[in-house]
Amino acid sequence: MFSNILIYFVVVPVIMLAGLGFCRNIKQIRAVAVTGSVALLGLSAYVLAEYLAIRATGNTEPMLFTGSWSWFEPLHINLAVGVDGISIAMLILSSIIVFAGSFASWTIQQPKEFFLWLILLSTGVFGFFISVDLFTMFMFYEVALIPMYLLIGVWGSGRKNYSAMKLTLMLMGGSAFLMLGLIGIYYHSAPEGGQLTWNILEIAKYDAIPHGWQQFLFPMTFVGFGVLGAMFPFHTWSPDGHASAPTAVSMLHAGVLMKLGGYGCFRVAIYLMPYAAKELSFIFLILTGISVVYGAFCACVKTDLKYINAYSSVSHCGLVLFAILMLNSTAMTGAIMQMLSHGLMTALFFALIGMIYGRTHTRDITQMGGMMQIMPYLSVCYVIAGMASLGLPGLSGFVAEMTIFVGSFKAGMAEYLAGAGSLKLVFTIIACCSIVITAVYILRVVGKLLFGPVYDDHHRTLTDATWWERFSTVTLILCVAAIGCFPNFFNNLINTTFTPEIFRVLGM
């Protein structure tokens, strides 16, 4: 079992948890957090390199590094792991954000408890991304959710009790649907007389879920994951939750946890139930299409920085689900890229907001101004994050969005010319409009917050970023720029996953 490299994505956090148990002072805690996150970063880099090397030898297995260990044998539950390009992308994203998050919470109160929960959360996240067994996947999914409650509740600010409760309950509400969907999938996973299985790869191979059942199970799983992916109208946990969460938690949550939603929608809902995905995608296309513009419009008039960003996340994550529903490889690649991109830049955003808030003790943009003169470093980073968000070429947002638009347009045109209506096309164009609205709210914030005269003279005495803050932000900016400048690397990494068999039903 421990010869499989992927297991260490769970083992390392567990060791970290144990290590934290022995920590006596903040220095040791920091040491554990940093060592652990560096180890995870190294691990994901190693897995990436190995993965590419193996793929280069012409290996076309759907997943690599697979391993399966029987767990609850009578129920056919295994601890099954495996990764493809998408999972690796997500693993890298997670480890980067955990790394940056550790630095962003350098001076947190009650560090031991904080890091305990934070690492428990990342255990869930990593476990989720390496799992190919529906049960373990779901288990890790829930492991990742619950620490949020305490992290927000204890270390949050504002209406933290309300927000923490709302977030937890709404996400758990999603996972209620999800659980039903997963169990349903299990019972229809194998053809008549075959052995039932939770293994995603096997289920996909059998493709035995009856169409009628797919039409019931698909919405269950899609909504279940969609709640975490902030799909309209189940997104309202996101603004409140993010607004109350402490910096590192917002980073992890928006950066990684929301990606669980998109990833799950793809890996479970669409991958396993392509027929229903094709039949029912229109409903969710409408919802996610609404998410995209709706989130952006809402962000335009909010004055709390975190609310703005949360709505922006609604918009961007809506784009992820939107693209996934287009059911073609270009759009899906774009969706995964968007997950990466949004994860990084939104983590950057939340890190910066946290840092600014930590200094000014307000997040209301009408109460601030001229930050560029006071804390130029943070402000420049904010501008960069903003530019990434509104899709400036050279940063990650652009490539992701363009891939999505090209893919969606392709899907839309194909549908239109096949005489199947113009829904996809229309919603593609609507989604495209978001690039303008995004520019509006990003520039509004940048203009009000960073530029202009200093609003409050008390702010003049504030200091710029400390070294750990710089470290955290620079890491993220470098990653954002790396994706933006060398997209084809990631594109190829992800693209190889969308092998034809995924689209077997879709006729593509």
């Binding site: 767990w71 609850f72 044998e73 009578p74 129920l75 539950i77 049960f135 779901f138 288990m139 890790f140 829930e142 492991v143 619950i146 409650y149 305490l150 509740g153 204890v154 933290k160 009790n161 923490a164 409760m165 937890t168 309950l169 758990m172 509400g173 209620a176 649907f177 659980m179 039903l180 169990i183 349903g184 299990y186 019972y187 019931f216």
Partner: protein
């Protein structure tokens, strides 16, 4: 007359032996040695538990029937009794401090004697295959409990709870027996087996009413809505150790008995009669239990409603009506025992130390008593079904087991149950919130809980952590039930 048949009842005999020893100890040991009684009983009970494991391990397997089918035991039944035994041992460990307290000096022995008799009654409920034996078991399991509820003489609530309990319990058993009389009238026998076969072709209003009354009678002990209303008052009024016993052991045993009765007596009526009833009961139980739990501030009352809604989830295993459902149910109860006992352990420890049982008193507990709050939090998470704690697995498996039944309606039922888990999560989190998040000054000072309490908590917490992740427990349960007779009728 073959009295050697008594030898089939190894576990019951072991239990009665303990009862006898405790009785003798209590009666004849000098006053100075009386303080040793709790430990004495606990150790004996532990031995019985271990013995139960051994006998179950050494058992040739398959079903042993005695007294012309009036009594049945099998590996599964032995395992069920063992599960209850484990719970009893933990309860006993946790109650050592309480029974050794000043107020309990005069009633120490009686507490143990009554407890053992109720356990004996539960054994009979599980093993009995004749309604006469069953009802004797049921009464043995509830009447002495009323006396136990009244043990806390200094508190008025304790008396009030006892009255409420005994009156409603007798009413319930009257209804139950009315139902039984209808069954008898329709079938002419009290043997489960005979009734089962006699009922295969009968459908009448009388039968339906009989089933409803029987379900009411057993549902009363299981506190299914609408037969649950005594629960909260009794849980609140009873001494904490008794409450924990009531909420886990009594409930667990009754759940098994319920399963047995429904399957082996009314198995043939499944789809026509009691499936629908159970649907309604489960939905009501979970929902109403949750709704009441939301607004409770007294921890014991809070856990009462929580246990009501948990009973609804346990019933999902009954409705599944197959080996998987049975295994899931056994597993659920096992996990539930550990989780709930952890919660009660903390409540008991705090109550013994300070007398506080209100949720408001728990505010900021983490700052003064971090370990207790962590134990409580784990219990709450496990009850709410949060991974990686055992409660998650048990919930997942019981849902899986239920859905195995396969109809569309069960999906709807499970969905409703799942949505209710959100509500339950809400109130479990309220406790966590009070302990960890609230900024208020804690009224409970830092204190060192007794050795026994700590031991009990460690065991419970260990169970919460290990039962889920270590798949051995569930796997072996499922292995056992795969060849079980308990569901055989239903499947056939």
């Amino acid at each position: 007359m073959d009295y050697s048949q008594f030898l089939a009842m190894k576990q019951e005999i072991g239990l009665l032996a303990v009862f006898l020893l405790v009785f003798l100890y209590d009666t004849f040991m000098p006053r100075g040695a009386q303080k040793g009684l709790p430990v004495f009983t606990t150790v004996l009970m532990l031995l019985v538990t271990l013995g139960g494991f051994c006998s179950y391990c050494m058992a040739p397997g398959g079903e042993v029937s005695a007294f012309a089918g009036m009594y049945v035991t099998s590996p599964v039944i032995a395992a069920i009794k063992n599960i209850l035994n484990i719970g009893v041992v933990i309860v006993l460990i946790q109650s050592i401090k309480w029974t050794n307290s000043e107020a309990m000096t005069m009633r120490r022995g009686e507490f143990y004697e009554l407890l053992l008799v109720t356990l004996f009654g539960m054994y009979l409920m599980i093993s009995g295959r004749h309604f006469l034996l069953f009802i004797i078991g049921l009464e043995s399991a509830s009447l002495p409990l009323a006396a136990m509820v009244a043990l806390d003489k200094n508190r008025y609530e304790s008396h009030e709870a006892a009255v409420k309990y005994i009156l409603t319990a007798v009413f319930s058993s009257a209804i139950f027996m009315m139902g039984l009389s209808f069954v008898y009238g329709l079938t002419g026998s009290m043997y489960f087996n005979d009734i089962y076969f006699a009922l295969t072709s009968q459908r009448s209003l009388l039968l339906v009413m009989a089933v409803a009354f029987v379900i009411g009678g057993i549902g009363f002990k299981l506190s299914l809505v609408p037969f649950h209303l005594w629960t909260a008052d009794v849980y609140q009024g009873a001494p904490t150790s008794v409450t924990s016993y009531l909420s886990v052991i009594s409930k667990g045993a009754t759940a098994f008995a319920f399963l047995v009765v429904l399957n082996q007596v009314f198995g043939a009526l499944y789809s026509q009669v009691w499936e629908v009833m159970l649907y309604a009961l489960i939905i009501l139980t979970i929902t109403v239990g949750n709704l009441f739990a939301i607004r409770q501030r007294n921890m014991k009352r809070f856990l009462a409603f929580s246990s009501i809604s948990q009973a609804g989830y346990i019933m999902l295993g009954v409705i599944a009506g197959n080996a998987m459902g049975l295994a899931a149910m056994m597993y659920y109860i096992l996990v539930y025992i550990f989780s709930n006992l952890a919660a009660f352990g903390v409540i008991g420890a705090i109550e013994n130390a300070t007398g506080k049982v209100s949720m408001d008193d728990y505010k900021g507990l983490y700052k003064t008593n971090p370990r207790l709050s962590v134990a409580m939090m784990l219990a709450m998470f496990s009850l709410a079904g949060i991974p990686p704690f055992a409660g998650f697995f048990s919930k997942f498996f019981i849902f899986t087991g239920a859905i195995n039944q396969g109809s569309v309606a069960i999906y709807v039922l499970v969905l409703i149950a799942l949505i209710n888990t959100i509500v339950s999560l809400y109130y479990y989190l309220l406790v966590v919130k009070a302990m960890f998040i609230s900024d208020d000054e804690c009224v409970v000072p830092n204190f060192r809980s007794a050795c026994s309490e700590r031991l009990g908590l460690w065991i419970s917490v260990g169970g919460i952590l290990a039962l889920g992740i270590v798949s051995y427990f569930y796997n072996s349960l499922l292995e056992l039930t795969g060849v079980s007779e308990m569901t055989a009728y239903f499947i056939g």
